[in-house]
């Protein structure tokens, strides 16, 4: 359980990290919080020749709030994001989801960007990125580009990031609506484990309590976390009656491609997807109504 040999470089700036990545390309890996990378090294699932440590680059660690977007630097620690009350007021799903990510000791070290690049199909933050349609800014030596979450996540543990690119910023849309509610939940074997299935939702209502905007998604039941913008649209203009809600959740579950493993069968995961989607949508709607 010891890592294989590698060379270590602590990048002092984003430019230096990109320069090192362009030099070493495929034979290098970015080291952020190490909470996924180091176990994979210990299991010898990865054998990079170089680890480029970006965790000390201060310009990759920030939370910047604007009216319609919250920007987080890729290397902002998960605990920092979880503890930020202003951010939690603007993008409540982040804090709600982070409560399910590992344990305090993991979040003290793990970064927001690391979780997104790791792209575990059951991971909470990639699901939030999908639900909110976050945008991800990545940088190579040749320059930056911005990807939508949908384009970023291409499969289980796989993203559109090129080997010489570094994720630098995540832009979380802030909903302008005054009465907005959100909810996140999951079923896992033990608290802090990866989810068997996770679900999150965000809903906004008008003064009469009618839904004016809705978004939801499910993780752990397909190769990537999935958001359902078209199904969510069906809830707009309604007061979330039970039959409609159940139908929307059932259709979402039917569209998923859950796998089976020792923890749960595909049928059980699909069942959970429908139950948890119903629960988070209802809870987000109730919270939004109460905020009127």
């Amino acid at each position: 359980m010891k890592s294989p040999a590698f060379e270590y470089a602590r990048a002092a700036s984003i430019d230096e990290a990109c320069e090192l990545l362009s030099q070493h390309g495929d034979s290098a890996k970015v080291l952020a919080g190490g909470q996924s990378l180091v176990p994979m090294m210990a299991f010898r699932l990865l054998r990079p020749h170089w680890l480029i440590d970006i965790s000390e680059i201060a310009p990759l660690q920030y939370i910047a709030l604007e009216t319609d977007v919250a920007r987080t630097g890729a290397c902002t620690r998960q605990c920092t994001v979880q503890c930020d009350a202003t951010l939690a007021a603007q993008v409540p799903l982040l804090r709600q989801a982070l409560a399910f990510v590992g344990h305090a000791q993991i979040r003290n070290r793990g970064t927001i960007g690391g979780s997104l690049v790791q792209a575990d199909p059951s991971a909470e933050l990639p699901l939030v990125a999908q639900i909110l349609q976050a945008r991800l800014v990545v940088r190579a030596k040749s320059g930056p580009r911005t990807l939508t979450a949908e384009d970023f996540f291409t499969g289980p543990m796989t993203t559109a990031l090129a080997p010489d690119e570094c994720l630098t910023e995540i832009q979380w849309p802030v909903w302008p609506d005054r009465s907005t509610g959100s909810a996140f939940t999951e079923v896992s074997r033990r608290h802090g484990d990866f989810a068997m299935v996770a679900a999150g939702a965000q809903v906004a209502v008008d003064a009469a309590g009618q839904c004016i905007r809705a978004a939801f998604g499910v993780g752990g039941a397909a190769p990537t976390p999935v958001a359902f913008p078209d199904l969510a649209q069906r809830l707009v203009g309604t007061s979330f009656n039970q039959a409609l809600l159940r139908d929307v959740a059932q259709q979402a579950a039917a569209a998923l491609e859950p796998g089976a493993d020792t923890h749960a069968s595909a049928a059980y995961r699909r069942h959970l997807a429908a139950v948890l989607a119903t629960r988070v949508l209802q809870s987000a709607y109730d919270t939004a109504r109460a905020a009127r």
Binding site: M1, K2, S3, P4, A5, F6, E7, Y8, R10, L31, G34, Q35, V38, P39, M41, A42, F43, L51, D53, S55, C79, G102, H103, A104, Q105, I106, N108, R109, H191, G192
Partner: protein, 163 residues
């Protein structure tokens, strides 16, 4: 193959320690094998059990998931750093003895670090806070109840309430 050695200087339990390490040397291996601070235990070596918990710049983290080279210039506290300078046990450590918060002792250094970090941040934790704080630390002996009692007892004593 000869591996590159990296020079590091780390403040461990208040004292600056220097060394030369290969990049792949985990922090826990450096602490145990080079500094002979064997209080920190190694269980799974891949982040699951929490036995290797230490504080890095005051925050509890897994020392098996950090390479020693990454801690250059940082501050590390191990379980050895929790005792009084004269070697007497801390209030928290005494509480673990009193409530039988350990049996084999394998998880204990990690539990103590997690608990001390909790008490540093929140001197009056609820039982839920305590359970959450140690949720990343596995114990195969006690069933956790006595550990929770130990931390609650220490919290009372530290804040001067009658226990």
């Amino acid at each position: 193959m000869s591996e590159t050695l990296y020079r590091i200087a780390v403040t461990v339990n208040g004292v600056e320690r220097t060394g030369q390490v290969t990049a792949r040397t985990s922090l826990v291996d450096w602490l145990r094998e080079h500094l002979h601070l064997t209080g920190t235990h190694i269980g799974c070596e891949h982040g699951i059990c929490g036995a290797c918990s230490i504080m890095l710049d005051g925050a509890p983290v897994r020392s098996c998931l950090i390479y020693a080279v990454q801690t250059d210039g940082h501050r590390v506290t191990t379980v050895e750093g929790l005792t009084h300078p004269d070697g007497r046990l801390s209030i928290l450590q005494d509480s673990f003895c009193e409530t039988h918060g350990l049996q084999c002792g394998y998880c204990t250094p990690g539990m103590l670090i997690a608990a001390q970090a909790l008490l540093d941040a929140n001197p009056r934790p609820s039982e839920d806070d305590i359970r959450e704080a140690i949720s990343g630390n596995l114990c195969r002996c006690t069933g956790y109840q006595q550990i929770v009692e130990a931390i609650a007892l220490a919290a009372k004593r530290i804040s001067g309430e009658p226990a």
